[in-house]
């Protein structure tokens, strides 16, 4: 069989790996994970000085599969393949890039669907709530395992940006550069409200069974799909949605005067919802949205973000997108203001891109041009 030719700039065929940790992990909630696994992928080579590692943190529904494709699944291209690869802005000829999957995921790292060693059955509803801080702790164990004392950089968008930010606070000495994209230092009441609607959709699904649906052989599919539909609306801007779908009817000359699909946007949301419900785990979704809700590094400092960020030692690049209403540019400017107050090294880009929150996944030339220039100046 001929292997598919890698696209120009692609890292080509990649392999997912797992690292197992038997030392218990004490979580922020007080619960303890007796043992855990972290799924990860790496691209490029770690240099002799071990100074060229860049950690990529993913957002809500992605995974450690950041770039390239699998030998047995060539269509499954990594979620940030446009950024990471040879000759790409995060150049794997220069950097050793690590994609890591957060704890509680359903894509490889230990999560609710994993076996609870105490019972021999799936954790299900008993899997503890994990936080951004917990994820960073677990990732630090992975870094230790890979022999990386200090990262050249950590990068993430959205929830991934929270992890990047938290790395600079949990392990200030281990991060030289933090690239924090489409971020917020804390969720707004509106953000939490959207998450709560998503959770309610899942938890009120009759197939949820209090989170113990694995043993019943069912999936709270209806809840998951509504959760995804809501999420999707918040990822796109009003303009982007109008541009993409307008009020175009789906295969109809006029309204059907029934509750079948009339508009293209309805078809799109149903499709996204169905697709999501076929691969994502409801218990994971519940926990990830809670991790988002709980993240607030300023909380321990009386709401003073500058005081919270004072211990960071990294240089920062903060990027926001003007059409992002989920984590608006004003939220990123709060981070920038706090960093300036602490006299940190920081640059801030406010990209005038139309796509909304999802713009961080696009390859806007100004955005990628700035990332390329930034990484090129990172000393090894």
């Amino acid at each position: 069989m001929n292997a598919p030719q890698p696209a120009p700039g692609s890292v080509g065929i990649v392999e997912a790996r797992k690292a197992s940790f038997s030392e218990p992990l004490k979580l922020k909630s007080g619960a303890v994970l007796p043992q855990f696994e972290i799924a990860y992928e790496t691209y490029g080579e770690l240099n002799a000085a071990r100074s060229n590692a860049v950690l990529v943190c993913h957002a809500l529904n992605a995974s450690h599969h950041v770039a390239g494709h699998y030998a047995d699944d060539p269509d499954n291209v990594g979620w940030w393949d446009n950024l990471v690869g040879p000759g790409k802005p995060l150049d794997t000829r220069r950097f050793f890039v690590i994609g890591t999957n957060y704890l509680g995921s359903c894509f490889g790292s230990t999560g609710p669907a994993s076996v609870n060693p105490a019972t021999g059955k799936s954790w299900g509803a008993d899997f503890p709530l994990v936080t951004v801080e917990d994820w960073v702790e677990a990732q630090a164990r992975l870094a230790d395992r890979l022999g990386i004392e200090r990262f050249a950089g950590v990068i993430g968008g959205s929830l991934g940006a929270m992890q990047a930010l938290q790395w600079t606070l949990s392990f200030p000495e281990r991060i030289r550069h933090a690239i924090v994209i489409a971020a917020t230092p804390r969720l707004s009441a509106q953000n939490i409200a959207f998450n709560e609607v998503a959770r309610q959709a899942i938890m009120t699904d009759p197939d949820f069974h209090g989170g113990h649906y694995y043993e019943k052989g069912v999936v709270p599919r209806r809840g998951l799909r509504i959760a995804r539909m809501i999420g999707h609306i918040t990822y796109l801007s009003d303009d982007a949605m109008m541009e993409k779908f307008g009020r175009v009817l789906r295969g109809k000359a006029g309204p059907g005067f029934d509750f079948d699909i009339d508009f293209e946007i309805e078809s799109y949301l149903r499709y996204q919802g169905d697709k999501f419900a076929s691969y994502f785990d409801a218990n994971t979704y519940l926990r990830i949205t809670k991790a988002l809700d709980y993240y607030d590094p300023a909380a321990d400092f009386g709401g003073d973000l500058a005081a919270a960020l004072a211990r960071a030692r990294a240089a920062f690049l903060v990027v926001s997108f003007t059409s992002d209403w989920r984590f608006a540019s004003a939220r990123s400017r709060e981070i920038v203001k706090a960093l300036l107050e602490g006299r940190k090294i920081v640059s801030y880009l406010e990209i005038d891109a139309p796509q909304g929150h999802d713009a961080f996944l696009m390859d806007d030339p100004r955005y990628h041009g700035a990332l390329r220039a930034y990484f090129a100046n990172v000393a090894l």
């Binding site: 203001k337 107050e341 801030y348 100004r366 700035a370």
Partner: protein, 205 residues
Amino acid sequence: MTDDQQALLAARPDLVAMARWVAPGARVLDLGCGDGALLRYLWQAKQAPGYGVEIDAAHVVECVRNDVNVLQMNLEDGLATFGDRSFDCVILSETLQAIHHTEQLMREMLRVGREAIVSFPNFGHWQARLQVTLGRMPVSQELPYQWYDTPNVHLCTLEDFEDFCRRLGFRVLERLVLHAGRSVTLMPNLLGSVAVYRLGQGNPA
């Protein structure tokens, strides 16, 4: 001095003056910093750490490439991101004339910084006066735009600017007037095409 630095200083004598007025190690905020050339020079020559503010996306990317801290923001929105007296020196080079909220920005500069350095093209220069006298809007090396495509909305002369500073309660600490890269001391409001001011808070005693 590198070739880059020499080229910069040859092209922009007002930047030379500004750089001279920045103390070694001073914290600098450069408003409308372009590609970050001045900040890069100040860091290399004076170890003065700084941040630039720039609205143009292409310039912002250039700043990142030049390894200069840059914040993509609109100066017309004010300087609320910056704390009181958080900089030793706030620079506004060749940008004043294109600002709409001039008074607000000038007040903000001396809230955020201990000192301000401002440079602008002198509308009182004889060439400008002559062109107006002859019935034309001035076009020159310092004012290269036609009336219909100029970004400049608030042009002024040295006298105008100094009146303005008095009205704001700012003190002129130093002034340098230039033409064709040379200092002009004789009739500067007539013979100088570019003015550079170092300003502080408070009126002279």
